[in-house]
């Protein structure tokens, strides 16, 4: 016999306004096994909790049902409360008569009846509650950061500074990411390299950080605190331990004129290269697709010239397995390909370029050494048109979302253009100016008012070449008339889009992506740097378009989550998780395939029914990894043989709830 106490909360007037709480408490007093029932204005308050504690002592209660709000809100409160009286915390049940009842109904009579039903169900369930216990799970206090852009660098530095080891995995030959490509950064006009490269160097020299460049995540297994990540370290064809970074190899390399992706195709590199002068690590890699040693089988110039003897043509990809306790995903973004747009010339006009290309044209380490020259003939432009929202806010060709940073970098480009070439004209075609950040609106005003950039509100319908100029034809929607600008150079603010391999990485990590393939955080407001999968965090523009301040803030946020996790010596497992009755499990694997957290493995066990002393017969059953399981119950719902079960939500408990409801109404 259980001794159940029922505590009906008024929640001020939140519940009491619609539900007759006194009547509900009186009704509850008559339910089977209920020995005490009362109501109170705020059960979660200290007097409310004391009332529960006193009742436990006085009436020797062994189960407590609190009829109040959602368990998401106050279940931990009441679990702690009854635990202080020596009861197992999982003997507290919450009957949600607020979100599920008073907030969604108007008729007091009917709402009261429903509240009584809900309490009846939960008392029937509480009677069958079993004591549950947490377990301790060990954890590896080492993190992996995937992506070596400013987000990854910041996160890695923060975690490393807190005293934990970090592996920073970067796909390209150098860390630095997108920010390393930029010239100046809005709204303060700091030189991107000046503020980024010290962080890159800090990363490289930090005793707690190991950088793996030219490397990609192949496979992820395990769970929070105990991940195993396989990383493919692609062959650089250079022995990093010997290379001194002197640069003789790429000065002497005979394969020239290859487009350099770091310069967005405007500059060139050789077959052995470092992507940019400040690269970290400053170790070249051989592009085997274009290297003559690999394509023709003979050359060997770099090997002969290298004074350190560091060239390794026979180097192979290496797979390393890292044990880490947490993972930060900071893989950044890609840019939308504007060659899809016919009205802007399908990408075939050399003087119609993207914003990132313009960054390279202005950058002192770029292909023009910072002199703004148009790509077609090297002419210094006298007028430049900047076009916003190319692929953003464009459901038809690109994406419906706003890429968030374009208004600001258009303003920055216009300002810097006027700064470098005082007589040049800057035109900015825009839909709206979205300048909501610290110092942003002031920056745009400065571009317009102090630097004289010409802002035109309207869309560009067509760009075409005429007499050595690009004619930009559009509408000025403020004047309500067509407009035509003859420009030397047109710069398109192309939309930010997810990395092409984002979905693939999400699958490896067991995290979700949204409809565009941006990584999906656990909660847009309250858990913005976490994934639903415990122990994996997100930072920067791989989640959604972000500027540098937001990216860095989120990276520090993710890092603090990681250090918070690592501050414990062991993790506490959630006891309300799934388990498998292996006796009845038929090993069909449905639970494993529907588990959103890949928390279920199929294992071989001895089939005792079929085995003899001489001959052992094995059978397959499912097994829950308690570290990974989140207790979502998908397996329990899917299992046909009812072998997958959820602690705290056993079939007996659910059926008891249904029966209680049926009994009340029969």
């Amino acid at each position: 016999m259980a001794r159940i106490g029922v505590f009906v909360c008024h929640c001020g007037t939140n519940i009491a306004k619609t539900v007759d709480v006194e009547k509900a408490a009186q009704a509850a007093a008559n339910f089977p096994d209920v020995v005490y029932a009362t109501d109170y204005k705020y059960m979660c308050s200290e007097p409310g909790q004391n009332l529960i504690k006193e009742a436990i002592r006085e009436h020797k209660l062994d189960r407590v049902v609190v009829a109040a709000c959602s368990p998401r809100l106050h279940e931990p409160t009441f679990q702690r409360c009854i635990a202080q009286e020596g009861l197992n915390p999982y003997f507290a049940e919450m009957a949600n008569i607020r979100e599920h009842c008073s907030w969604v109904h108007e008729d007091r009579g009917q709402a009261t009846e429903k509240a009584i039903d809900i309490i009846a169900m939960l008392t029937a369930k509480a009677k069958r509650n079993e004591p549950l216990f947490t377990k301790e799970i060990p954890l590896t206090k080492k993190a992996m950061v995937i992506g070596g852009g400013v987000a990854g660098i910041r996160a890695a530095l923060d975690i490393a500074d807190a005293g934990y080891k970090v592996v920073l995995v970067e796909k390209t030959p150098s860390i630095g990411g997108r920010m390393a490509q930029y010239d100046k950064t809005f709204p303060t006009l700091d030189c991107a390299a000046c503020i980024l490269t010290p962080m890159m160097v800090d990363c490289a020299s930090h005793p707690n950080i190991e950088i793996m460049t030219y490397s990609e995540v192949e496979e992820v297994s395990g769970y929070v605190g105990n991940f195993k990540v396989k990383v493919r370290k692609r062959a650089k064809s250079v022995d990093a331990s010997k290379c001194t970074g002197c640069g003789v190899c790429y000065e002497k390399c005979v394969v020239k004129g290859l487009p350099n992706p770091f310069d967005e195709g405007l500059g060139t590199r050789r077959a052995i290269y470092v992507p940019f002068p400040q690269a970290v690590p400053n170790i070249p890699v051989i592009d085997r697709e274009n290297c003559r040693q690999f394509t023709k089988g003979k050359c060997g110039v770099c090997e002969k010239m290298c004074p350190a003897g560091a060239i390794r043509y026979d180097q192979e990809d290496e797979i390393v397995t890292e044990d880490v306790g947490a993972i930060v995903v900071a893989t950044g973004f890609d840019l939308w390909d504007y060659s899809k747009l016919g009205e802007y010339g399908y990408g075939k006009y050399p003087d119609v370029i993207s914003g990132i290309q313009f960054e390279r044209l202005m950058n002192a380490s770029g292909p023009t050494e910072g002199k703004i020259k148009r790509p077609s003939d090297g002419k210094v432009p006298e007028s430049v048109v900047f076009i916003s929202c190319v692929g953003s806010r464009d459901d038809e060709h690109g994406y419906p979302y706003c890429s968030k940073v374009c208004c600001m970098y258009n303003a920055k480009h216009a300002l810097l253009l006027k700064d470098k070439l005082h007589d040049a004209k800057a035109y900015v075609f825009y839909m709206d100016i979205r300048a909501n950040g610290k110092g942003y609106e002031e920056f745009v005003r400065r571009t317009i008012e102090d630097y004289g950039a010409n802002y035109i509100r309207g869309r560009v319908s067509r760009i075409f070449p005429e007499d050595g100029k690009m004619v930009v034809r559009g509408a000025d929607t403020l004047l309500g008339q067509p407009i035509e600008v003859k420009a030397d150079l047109v710069v398109l603010a192309t939309a930010m889009q997810p990395q092409p391999d984002a979905k693939d990485l999400a699958r490896k990590l067991g995290v979700s992506t949204d409809q565009y393939n941006w990584f999906a955080e656990a909660h847009p407001k309250l858990r913005p740097v976490e994934f639903l999968t415990a122990g994996i965090y997100v930072a920067g523009a791989c989640q959604y378009p972000k500027d540098i301040p937001d990216t860095v803030a989120q990276a520090s946020g993710a890092a603090s989550k990681v250090t918070g996790l690592f501050s414990k010596d062991a993790l506490t497992s959630e006891p309300m998780i799934a388990y498998i009755n292996e006796d009845t499990c038929v090993g069909c694997g449905l639970c494993a395939s529907v588990c959103p957290f890949t928390a279920i493995d199929l294992v071989e066990v001895v089939d005792r029914a079929k085995s003899t002393r001489e001959h052992q017969v094995m059978r397959t059953v499912a097994r829950v990894n308690e570290g990974i399981c989140h207790g979502c119950g998908t397996c329990a719902a899917g299992c046909r043989s009812m072998s997958a079960k959820l602690r705290g939500f056993e079939d007996t408990q659910i059926l008891a709830e249904i029966e209680a409801l049926a009994n009340v109404h029969s």
Partner: protein, 314 residues
């Protein structure tokens, strides 16, 4: 028409048994009457003459595989629908594919005593059964009668779109030219359907024959038999029968291959396949998924994608 196929089945079975590739071949054998066959387990090459093929070969022999083929090499003769059961069993890890040698037969449609009775055949007079292009030929003392296939076969065979096995090591028979009848959605308003099924389930004696003949009902302990959690009560009444049949229908969603064995086995002649067909029709409409067609396509209800259609929007 069936003779050639029968000869081929026997040849293949003999080869498998003689070479020792399998220890047993499961097929159909002569039954207690001319309109019946019975499952046979042939273990010796000289016994392959016991194997038959005719329009009464109704049993879905895949039902034996989870017990027989888990740890032994087994040969099995299958119709197209049975072959789909094998695909689902392999997908659901109940049978290792490498343990099977599958002798497939093409199938114009199968009869059972209920479908023959419905077609006006006097069962006591039936002396033999065969196919002839688009007819079922019923032999009787008075001579042979030809019934159009769509009149004589089981309901599931009328709507069947798969006339050749989807998985087999050898296939006997040519592809029959039979046009399937489309599956109609269940008729009536929800209230009418509720009344209809209440009447049906009233007759259910819960012998569980439907479950026992079903290759997809392989659970070691069925939910209906559990006594730790009583999903169904032992009491024989409509509501308990209702719970059982609904539970089974849900468990077969996206898995039923439509062989119709449950309905054939039912001593009370409950139209169980109406339920299963409706569930499968909905799964196909929602997820564009037909169960048991190939091993690689993951079952619709065994996976989750955020892009999955929302049933409420259909």
């Amino acid at each position: 028409m069936a003779n050639e196929v029968e000869t081929k089945i026997r040849e293949e079975a003999k080869k498998l048994l003689e070479s020792g590739e399998v220890t047993v071949v499961i097929g159909w054998g002569t039954g207690s009457a001319a309109f019946k066959t019975t499952p046979v387990f042939v273990e010796k090459p000289e016994d392959v003459e016991k194997l038959v093929w005719n329009p009464a070969c109704t049993n879905n022999l895949a039902v034996y595989l989870p017990q027989v083929a888990q740890h032994a090499k087994v040969g099995i003769v299958v119709k197209p629908c049975d072959s789909r059961s094998i695909v689902t069993l392999i997908q659901e890890k109940q049978v290792p594919k490498e343990n099977l040698k599958i002798i497939g037969v093409t199938c114009p449609g199968i009869v059972d005593d209920a479908s023959l009775k419905k077609a006006g055949v006097k069962l006591s007079e039936v002396q033999g059964l065969d196919w002839d292009t688009d007819c079922v030929v019923v032999g009787a003392p008075s001579g042979k009668t030809k019934l159009p296939i769509t009149d004589a076969v089981k309901e599931g065979c009328r709507t069947c779109t798969q006339r050749t096995p989807v998985i087999s090591d050898v296939t006997a028979g040519s592809v029959p030219a039979v046009n399937p009848v489309p599956i109609e959605p269940m008729e009536g308003t929800p209230e009418e359907r509720r009344a209809y099924w209440a009447k049906q389930f009233e007759r259910c004696i819960r012998c569980y024959a439907c479950r026992q003949v079903c290759p997809s009902c392989y659970c070691a302990k069925c939910f209906a038999d559990r006594n730790d959690v009583r999903w169904t009560n032992k009491k024989a009444d409509t509501s308990e029968a209702w719970m059982f049949h609904m539970g089974r229908a849900m468990h077969l969603a996206g898995r039923c291959v439509g062989c119709g064995e449950c309905e054939r086995a039912c001593p009370m002649e409950l139209p169980i396949m109406q339920l299963n067909r409706e569930v499968q029709r909905r799964v196909e409409a929602l997820f564009d998924f037909v169960p048991g067609m190939d091993i690689e396509t993951a079952p619709a209800l065994g996976q989750f994608e955020p892009e999955d259609p929302d049933p409420n929007e259909h």
